[in-house]
Symmetry: C2
Subunit: 337 residues, 2 copies
Amino acid sequence: MNIKALAAFGAKQALQPFEYNPGPLGSEQVEIAVESCGLCHSDLSMLDNDWGMTTYPFVPGHEIIGRVVALGEHTKRVKIGDRVGLGWFSGSCGECAQCLSGNQNLCLKVEATIIGRHGGFATRVRAQWTWCNPLPEGVDAGKAGPLLCGGITVFNPIVQFGIKPTDSVAVIGIGGLGHMALKFLRAWGCDVTAFTTSDSKREEALRLGAHRTLNSRNADELAKAVGSFDFILNTANADLDWNTYIAALKPKGRLHTVGAVPSPIALGAFPMILGQKSLSGSPLGSPATTDSMLQFSARHGIAPTTETFPMSRVNDALEHLRSGKARYRIVLTNDLA
Amino acid sequence: MNIKALAAFGAKQALQPFEYNPGPLGSEQVEIAVESCGLCHSDLSMLDNDWGMTTYPFVPGHEIIGRVVALGEHTKRVKIGDRVGLGWFSGSCGECAQCLSGNQNLCLKVEATIIGRHGGFATRVRAQWTWCNPLPEGVDAGKAGPLLCGGITVFNPIVQFGIKPTDSVAVIGIGGLGHMALKFLRAWGCDVTAFTTSDSKREEALRLGAHRTLNSRNADELAKAVGSFDFILNTANADLDWNTYIAALKPKGRLHTVGAVPSPIALGAFPMILGQKSLSGSPLGSPATTDSMLQFSARHGIAPTTETFPMSRVNDALEHLRSGKARYRIVLTNDLA
């Protein structure tokens, strides 16, 4: 059966209806009937070929919620009818040291849902069973899509680096990723600061979970923040004054980026040495970490703050995202048929 | 009683005899009769005022072995006659969060043995009791001085970042610090690689503990090393091709510098993100970590590889160090009187 999708036929072009034949279902693959799909900045970056690795026709969509409708013969973990989430990753080798250690997200052969294959702006999508995360009771399926990419991207470092409820943490960039980071870190029990670039975002940041905000364009506020944080999470895809953020860390603190910062991050060695500080990055999480996030979200009633568009209006939604007005994540409800 | 010392009276000048009156012994201070003192690159940097914080007359020396000869009224941990080691740090506040957590080396008020006070090229030197590390049985006092600065500098990150005997590790820079790193990491049970800049250092590196060497100027060898290491320890005070070393890390790997690299370290965000990699730095270790190092060294028969000069020939020793010919650490035996 052909899959109906929305595809771009060249960089920066509008999406238009597109059908493709997915061929026989792989033995480890699950087929998912897409109910909804979040819209992520990475969809835009891939659509625009910003990373030079897009092939066209290109079907975006990697924050997928749907029902399992077909199973390959060597699948596990899900059964027909299950509601699952599928994110940026859709396959891994299963046999390398990283896969065997539970770090399937670090597998060198990891497959991405929208790289070299078609994504979730479609009636159906396929993925290796490993990456189909069953949605637990208590997660709002209509809002959950963005957890599978934006959400796990910011939840993963909290787990990977052992952030503790006693830690003082800060988030840079209050957007699609950052707003979820504030929610997670507040529920995690931390003392949470939001770095903002304008005082107008203050109220929003407090509502999302920050205990306070710091205006990163205010030199006085930054000077007072020296030595304050155990963990600073950057979610912005922007070049920042990194050494100022390093100075804002406590001894043993970590500046961590999940934002795809364009220019190299240049840090003086002395502050890193004297304060035993770290810089790091991380991709999306493993299937097990994603399961943990979904359970944590259900227990704490955490959902992305979303705006909804019908999938057929994807071009309007893309324009809304490009304009920077999305608050904070767009979910497309599937009306393709 | 005046202390007889060797001091420089200006940047880059030869050391000459110098006497000073240390005043009354502080209540938390221990006075040590210096038996020997290592000569470290930081002594040269301070002598030359490379860091812009040297005051003259300047008495170098911060890899001190000696006997306790006087105790302030509020001292603990050591008694008269004990043989102790004293390194870069000689005091900390004792009451801040870092001190109370056992991270006295990260105390913001930490005192350095040769900054704003006189060091160990002298008959006697003083330090807070906290920083006087009793020398365990089995440590060769005549060679142990360099453990207190160079040694603990490379041992500390092994402890701080939980390096495991199953890890593949590499060391950049086979000098005063790097040669001890090879010995420690080999005894730690790791798979140990030494990065060298010339094939002529290969045999030495193997003798010091490396299982193999990699010539960092050989592009083919570096290309083969991609994804190889859990931990790369830089001990060189030099600007290097950092992104190549990041590429040489396994997923979750860490590039750590104890070398005071002159220019900012500039790293692309994408490799850090995709492989969940870290960059970090660290100073010398805490008193407890230093004690662990001394016990580990005694148990494994680890000693710095040293050359010995009488302290009165300190200017010859400084010249030998400046020439880059020291193999690998110079110890001055005290003949001042």
